[in-house]
């Protein structure tokens, strides 16, 4: 059993002696997801951030940056669709997700978010190729849709980047569930870092200033949010420090700080440093997503992270007498009956 590992010097919530389990077997089941899912989290974030950058560049008439960011968004959303479908137990039934829209299912909401975002991003990217489309109805439609599609994609993009945190948190996987307050900020920070970094690689130093600013802001947000998340997770925060997840998170922090410093100091001057920094930022963002994903999987496999926080909540008398929120009433009329009695 891993020791405290110096998690902010906090005392362990429940000493090992009083922690029991059924022969050390997991209580909850880890999501049956492969690396497709963290890849999807990363690519979706990269696409979202790039669409925002592209819309900004479009309005500011920064043609090189706009083109680079739109093409990145196109590639990333294509890749994320593939990853998402590939991870299903029955990929041929992907369309079954389009038969319902369920507010209680973040995956259902996410399906509709990417279904709305995808065509907008594709149309925006297509308008970069108007020269290659033979003149006619299609070419007129594409050039007419140019800016509206880009703006539409950018309006959906922030939700595309942050909803994935809800997707993970709305589970019984301890490291994902306990981090629900801060994880959306970790994820949008990571999206900004990735999109900024990729645009630094794909466009000239002169035109990449907005990308650098986005990347630096994203890096700061990501680094701070992940620390705040760990502080709020109690004993479960260990899972972000230990094993593969710990290695990924530390690597992500190193790459993100390195990339951000590189862009601050040499971003305007050196194309070479811009390339290296951009790459570090993109990889750092990917490591964050894979690290958070791994932390969840390892937290589900160890019964300690399910049992100890629940024992603590029982000792604190917390959840059973939980006040009902407005959400409860909306979600389950049963609560309305209880409170009106």
């Amino acid at each position: 059993m891993p020791k405290n590992n110096g998690v902010r010097g906090e005392a362990r919530m429940v000493p090992d002696a009083s922690f029991t389990s059924y022969y050390g077997r997991p209580v909850v089941k880890a999501a049956p997801w492969s690396n497709d899912i963290p890849a999807y989290l990363f690519l979706g974030g990269l696409a979202g951030g790039s669409s925002l950058l592209a819309a900004g560049a479009d309005v500011m008439h920064n043609d090189e940056l706009r083109r680079a960011a739109r093409l990145t968004a196109l590639g990333a959303i294509g890749g994320s669709y593939l990853a998402l479908v590939h991870d299903l137990g029955r990929p041929s039934r992907f369309f079954n997700m389009l038969r319902v829209a369920k507010p209680t299912s973040p995956m259902s909401m996410g399906t509709w978010i990417i279904t709305a975002y995808g065509p907008a991003a594709v149309l925006a990217a297509a308008s970069e190729f108007t020269g290659m489309i033979p003149p006619g109805r299609l070419s007129r439609l594409v050039s007419f849709a140019n800016r509206p599609a880009g703006i539409a994609a950018a309006m959906i993009a922030p939700v595309l980047s942050s909803y994935t945190a809800v997707l993970l948190s709305d589970t019984s996987t301890p490291a994902w569930n306990h981090g629900f307050k801060e994880m959306p900020f970790v994820f949008v920070g990571s999206s900004a870092t990735a999109a900024g970094g990729m645009a630094m690689i794909a466009s000239s130093v002169h035109n990449a200033a907005p990308a650098r600013r986005l990347a630096i802001g994203g890096a700061l947000t990501e680094l701070l949010a992940i620390e705040k998340m760990k502080a709020s997770m109690g004993v479960v925060s260990e899972t972000l420090d230990l094993g593969t997840a710990g290695k990924l998170i530390r690597l992500s922090q190193f790459l993100t700080i390195f990339g951000a410093l590189g862009s601050i100091v040499f971003g305007r001057k050196s194309r070479a440093v811009s390339l290296v920094s951009g790459l570090a930022l993109v990889l750092g963002s990917a490591c964050t997503k894979f690290g958070v994903f791994e932390a969840g999987q390892s937290s589900a496999r160890d019964p300690k992270y399910t049992v100890a926080p629940q024992k603590k909540s029982l000792q604190d008398g917390a959840t059973h007498a939980r006040p009902k929120t407005r959400w409860d009433v909306l979600r389950n009329p049963y609560h309305r009956q209880r409170s009106s009695r």
Binding site: V28, M60, K102, T104, S105, M107, S108, A209, Q310, W327
Partner: protein, 292 residues
Amino acid sequence: MSKTIVHLGLDPAKISGWDVAQPRMGFFTDTSLCIGCKACEVACKEWNEIPEDGLDWLGISYDNTGSLGASSWRHVAFIEQAVPGGRTDTPSSASALDGSDLRWLMSSDVCKHCTEAGCLDVCPTGSLFRTEFGTVVVQDDICNGCGYCVAACPFGVIERRTGSHGTKNVGLAQKCTLCYDRLVSGMTPACAQACPTESIQFGNLSELRSRARRRVEKLQLDGNRAARLYGDDPNDGIGGAGAMFLLLDQPEVYGLPPNPVVATRELGQMWKQAGIAALTFLIGAAAASIER
């Protein structure tokens, strides 16, 4: 409106839109009567045509099933436990080992058919649904195997079936249906039918609940102070279970979570945080884009 809901009582089937009146059905598993014979596991596999999923020796106890899963819809936990201070009704050879007494705890675990079911809440295809009996069932022809329900379940019950190509329902989420096909014909679920000691009792949930309360009171009066009910409280984190248990030790000893709370209860707050983060991102990106 509120009057009708009061009338609904504990019935999640009605809340889900069923207007054919059926009492909520469920299980009461009285583990003090379980002898660990695993007839429930076998009967369940037989009736539901569940494929074989490994004939391994786990080397932990007489339990070689290990846990509930895609192809184990009943699981008999088997705990060999030292009882400090000891009891007198176990074989003396056991206490000779280390001066303490040993006892065996056996419990047949099953899907809890929660009032607030996490699996059902998060299912993005509508494959998981609430039956007219208040139970929670997967529709095999709709599930696309996304696996979200697996992570959402607070009890680690539902699982995506693995196996070679051609295995029945491979790649789909699978779990106890509370023998939905038997229930619609007025029959008892296979596990309860097969149980030789009536440790597994099936019936009208409110009736089972009062039976369970009488039973735990009796055991406590008989001196079994650790006896407790699990999943019987409609005010717990899952709104009460459709399958409750009488346990002789703490839930986690049996591999059950001590205080499960369905994640969906916090979903409103989760979306709020995600919304604030998204707005921050939008404003931040706009600010980063402004060029002089």
